[in-house]
């Protein structure tokens, strides 16, 4: 393509005061608002009765023993393993032992399952609503003109996105309308949010999710629609299959070799 002549349009410096900074400030404030909104909306953990905690923690205990089996000596590990396997298979820790056979409650009807899903929905809402609001606000007030020139050239197909309101075909795509400044701010403001709100805040997560779109987490333990009895049996099996090696084997030789006197 022929070297496009360098287009320089004289712009009124006032543009910055009334466009750039309001958008940036509004975005920073909505980020902070979103962070505190998600913090407030986070529902307190629900009180569980003793049986439910007993069931969960007994399984966690089994998983711990399997995970950290290397810390135990062989006799103590084998003693624990046999005790746990018999308890899991006999269903000693089940919340309601009589319901071993039936399939798990349907998550939709199960009341506490709804609680978990509502929580996730709230977070999604907190992400999406402010986003659309700002976009429509910008399109309503700040469209139809170009405010700044990008320091680096862009391909033509960005033009339709970045110069949405500006109906000129041959304009160099480097010229930016305010909506493109909004896109820049979504990703660029992450360091500012990390700075203002500490690094694991909701505002920056939204941006990270935007560019990652990772798959949702794997199967939840104890989540809705999971049959505890099956989990216990699976855990018993895992425990049985562990071949034990202790971290204590040869610890003296390692010590004498490692630490110089």
């Amino acid at each position: 393509m022929a070297q496009v002549p360098v287009q320089s349009i004289h712009r009124d410096p006032q543009l910055f005061y009334w466009i750039l900074f309001p958008i940036t400030i509004v975005m920073i404030l909505t980020g902070v608002l979103r962070h505190y909104a998600t913090v407030l909306m986070a529902s307190a953990p629900k009180k569980q009765d003793q049986k439910a905690t007993r069931e969960q923690r007994s399984l966690l205990h089994g998983i711990n023993v399997r995970g950290n089996h290397h810390v135990l000596s062989k006799p103590s590990f084998t003693a624990r393993r046999d005790a746990l396997i018999t308890a899991y298979e006999s269903g000693a820790y089940l919340k309601n032992p009589d319901s071993r056979g039936q399939p798990p409650p349907n998550p939709m009807s199960d009341p506490n399952a709804m609680e978990g899903m509502m929580g996730m929905m709230k977070n999604q809402m907190a992400m999406v609503i402010p986003n659309t609001l700002i976009m429509s606000w910008i399109n309503a007030f700040f469209s139809g003109y170009v405010i700044m020139k990008l320091p680096f050239p862009l391909t033509i197909k960005f033009k339709s996105m970045l110069q949405a309101g500006v109906a000129t075909r041959d304009m160099d795509p480097r010229w930016m309308s305010s909506i493109s400044w909004y896109f820049l701010c979504i990703f660029g403001l992450q360091p500012v949010f990390n700075f203002l709100l500490g690094s694991d805040n909701a505002a920056s997560q939204m941006a990270q999710q935007m560019n990652q779109m990772g798959p949702q987490g794997g199967a939840q333990m104890f989540g809705p629609g999971v049959d505890p009895n099956k989990q216990f049996l699976a855990e018993a099996e895992n425990l049985a299959v562990i071949e034990h090696h202790s971290v204590l084997d040869g610890v003296e030789q390692r010590l004498l070799a490692g630490i110089k006197v």
């Binding site: 320089s8 910055f16 360091p191 700075f195 500490g198 690094s199």
Partner: protein, 174 residues
Amino acid sequence: MVICILASPIIVIRSFGASRPQAQEASNTAMTLLSKTITAFGSLLLAHACYSAREHTALQSIRAATAATLTSSSTAATSLPVDIIIETIISTFIILLGLVLGTRPLRPLEWRVWAGKIEREGEEGFTDNAGAVDKDYMGNPFSVLESRPNFVDIRKQRKEFAEWVQKGDGKQGQ
């Protein structure tokens, strides 16, 4: 012109965690006085460079407009006078130095080294460069397993303390 003066403090404010009351404790860098002054000086220099660059391009575009020779504006970088370029680069390095000095001391990764540091140095090993002990330092995290605060036998401790005071008085008394 007001703009660029206003714009550069954004950098200054963002690097000065402590000065803003609302700055989240988790992210503010506990800078010593030294790194703050270095960053402040660098920021001033940068603001000045930004101001003069701004003036220069404004002047140049006016002169270009009056002389009606639109072809003269080659790429902006080369036409910037060399003193502004040098000033910008120097101020960038000064702020860079200030920011790096402002980072909190790192903590060892290996368990052996980290545990040794806790046991050997206690609180001194975990101070930020301003000397204050880090907020999340709590000694050996597993010592709570031995001291068991939830099971504290307060009556025994009160008795021991009373005896210690008498013994203490007894000793000071002689």
